[in-house]
Symmetry: C2
Subunit: 237 residues, 2 copies
């Protein structure tokens, strides 16, 4: 129930939201320090809401440890999970000073907070900082486009395969940890819980994966999964 919430004045536009700089911590250059100067660290527990869709966005964040779900609620109650963000990723804003999405911790973790106002000022003044943010936004944008393509053209199995492979890339070990529920996956891939579950079962039956337990999956036939997810551009990266 941690309250990482508003404090002061809001400010124009600082476009940050979603996966950024990704695994590649490079490119931070010497401006890392400039960013660090503005940073404050916060510990979050599983289930914590870090920021809420529609609230004034005074601070933005960067994941240090853990996994955070960004989601948006549609007027009629349907939910869309925009992204799952992992260590290294920024999240936390959009244009008009309001959070675009709600961010909730899927597991205990640590996030760094940046004052949006200060960050905006820093970006306006410091080229290095501006370029970091610019590149981060660009990376996010490419990822978002790839996701749009996935959602627009791929079938359920293809989406799932792409999703699992994407997670696999972020994971060190042989088995993938899923900090998110089936519902989260469904809302991320534009599928229902049932379809996600069934597709996973089907993968298992076909020997593509092995379920260590519900939230832990081992890829036993990566090649087939890749063939299936072919079409998902995000895999290239």
């Amino acid at each position: 129930m941690l309250a990482v919430q508003q404090a002061a004045t809001s400010h124009p536009m600082l476009p940050i939201m979603g996966r950024q700089l990704g695994r590649t911590t490079s490119g931070l250059g010497n401006a890392q320090s400039e960013l660090d100067r503005l940073a404050g660290t916060v510990r979050v527990a599983r289930g914590d809401t870090i920021c809420h869709e529609g609230d004034d966005a005074d601070v933005c964040f960067r994941v240090v440890a853990g996994c955070i779900r960004l989601s948006k609620l549609l007027p009629d109650g349907r939910r869309h999970v925009i992204d799952f963000v992992y260590p290294g990723d920024f999240f936390g804003l959009v244009d008009d000073g309001e959070y675009e999405a709600t961010a909730e911790a899927l597991e205990a973790g640590i996030v760094t907070r940046y004052s949006r106002r200060q960050l905006e000022v820093a970006a306006e003044r410091d080229i290095a900082t501006c370029n970091i943010l610019r590149r981060a936004a660009g990376a996010s944008l490419a990822a978002a486009h790839a996701r749009a393509t996935t959602l627009a053209r791929l079938g359920a199995a293809e989406r799932l395969a792409a999703f699992l492979l994407g997670l696999a890339k972020r994971t060190k070990g042989a088995t993938i940890m899923l900090p998110m529920s089936r519902a989260d996956i469904g809302d991320y891939l534009g599928l229902t819980i049932e379809t996600v579950s069934r597709t996973i079962s089907q993968f298992k039956a076909r020997g593509l994966i092995r379920l260590v337990d519900t939230r832990q999956i081992a890829l036993t036939n990566r090649q087939s999964l890749e063939a299936m997810a072919e079409g998902d551009i995000a895999l290239a990266a």
Copy 2:
């Protein structure tokens, strides 16, 4: 058949692709001149390919007049239309120096070319330019997220309604001009030609729209369309 193509060396990352700065030409500030210094103007004819997916991205573009379709081809031949870009919008790049999508003119128009190398240099050096690009990327990102949500959760009618309303905002007159084919719309919305056509017919039957001709539509009941598209975040803007 105009050849707006490669010339020289490529360069790191300059994240630009898609709708940006949108209708709002504001925010360009005094750096407009900096950008303008790098600009070259090109005339394009209907059907012209301005750049091709996968080619080295030495230049990026900004639409001055006309409408341009950005699309990506999946390995199995399916196509995804990433966006339709209109005057004011930038397009033309992604990370690793290759075009993310193919850009084709849907009608005669004019585009401004910027050397990516020079632009990158300018961004590295000139804060104002960097910030323009940063904000542009941020705006694109928000739009891309909204699109992902649309594709993930909305039904055919909802997508169509959102699409038409989106076009309406970009159009001055009472009737919407559709420079793109039904196939383009389908590949943009993740639907088939037939579904697009049927949904349009259904809208017509329900009195929501009137077809001046195939490529020209008047919204006769905007309210209902808006109610339908509710859920599409892009409308807020």
